[in-house]
Symmetry: C2
């Protein structure tokens, strides 16, 4: 009884909608990333769906948030373990859901406008990723596994940019190996790189 019934129900429904939306876009591809398609898929009218969100853009940001939540829970190690391996798993998964990658890319471009509802989401997300990366590289440096002339900050930026850029290249040509690109970015800052970059 910590939540009023109707409120809790609304929240639950919202979550359920987001998960359903995620599933459709994953399954049907980028075409399904429109308000009408999602409404159909979750069994609501367009107006019924928008009842739960401030606008189309807000809906899509929430979809991406939910995706992050699920992905982090599924693929991310506890307490900053093997970050490159976690990234690899996420990327391998992404390669199965081009619709979501496309939606993410579209939104990240649109979010360039500071007034866009997704702007804060991407700013926070980027900051979060960079924090995790910097910590990881710092640990690598402390363990002597890092080229001393490479700062964790720059290495982190490079990994992040490589990931985003690899997605763009992959959307254009699915034969592109996203994981290899990100792996290369990681290794760029590390010592003992023999036989790793190919």
């Amino acid at each position: 009884m910590t939540q009023r019934g109707s409120y809790a129900k609304g929240v639950a429904r919202r979550e359920q909608i987001l998960e359903a939306a995620l599933a459709v876009i994953a399954r049907e591809g980028y075409r399904a990333a429109s308000v009408r398609e999602i409404a159909d898929a979750v069994g609501l009218s367009q107006a019924g769906l928008l009842h739960y969100f401030d606008s189309k853009e807000h809906l899509f940001v929430e979809i991406l948030r939910k995706r992050d939540e699920l992905d982090l829970r599924t693929y991310h190690p506890e307490g900053g373990g093997d970050l490159p391996a976690a990234y690899e798993r996420m990327i391998a998964h992404n390669a199965q859901v081009p619709g979501l990658v496309h939606l993410f890319a579209r939104m990240s471009v649109e979010a360039g406008d500071p007034a866009h509802p997704a702007h804060a989401y991407f700013a926070d997300r980027t900051a979060g990723f960079l924090d995790g990366l910097r910590d990881w590289f710092q640990h690598a440096a402390d363990a002597g596994r890092m080229a001393p002339e490479v700062s964790p900050a720059t290495a982190s930026r490079l990994v992040q940019a490589a990931w985003d850029g690899a997605q763009l290249q992959w959307l254009l040509d699915p034969s592109v190996d996203m994981a290899a690109i990100v792996r290369a970015a990681f290794q760029s800052a590390l010592t003992g790189r023999e036989a790793q970059l190919r």
Copy 2:
């Protein structure tokens, strides 16, 4: 008299339109990257402008092509000289024209769809850049300046991805140093990196 008058005039007008469009978007920003804005800027009606292009999408592809043409002429060395320095100049220039970077990013996402008019443009452009990069890294390898375990192909992909990704990050946060990210990507494959990555 190698060209018929009216045809040559049409072509010339087209080039002139593209250069004017480029100038407006560079000056006015991403907002100006719409058919109506460009029509106004070049002193034509919307229909008048579209008379020269098959569609809106084709118009924008041609704008990007023209930009490449001018940028390559201005910033690119003859015969594959100092590629990183050329990139650096281009990136410094890009940082002055956010509207064009934004347009480019938008188009590169939309071009993910193989049916999109920009698809071939981006495929060709990527292939061209990768060729140039691979040649350059190959020369570096021949000169013994490259970590032997790094293939020119992977290094090229990484540089390309880093550039694209850096642009996305920069659009989101203009304090991001695009040049530093691309520089880091270049150096990742090279030996003698002391005091270069920061």
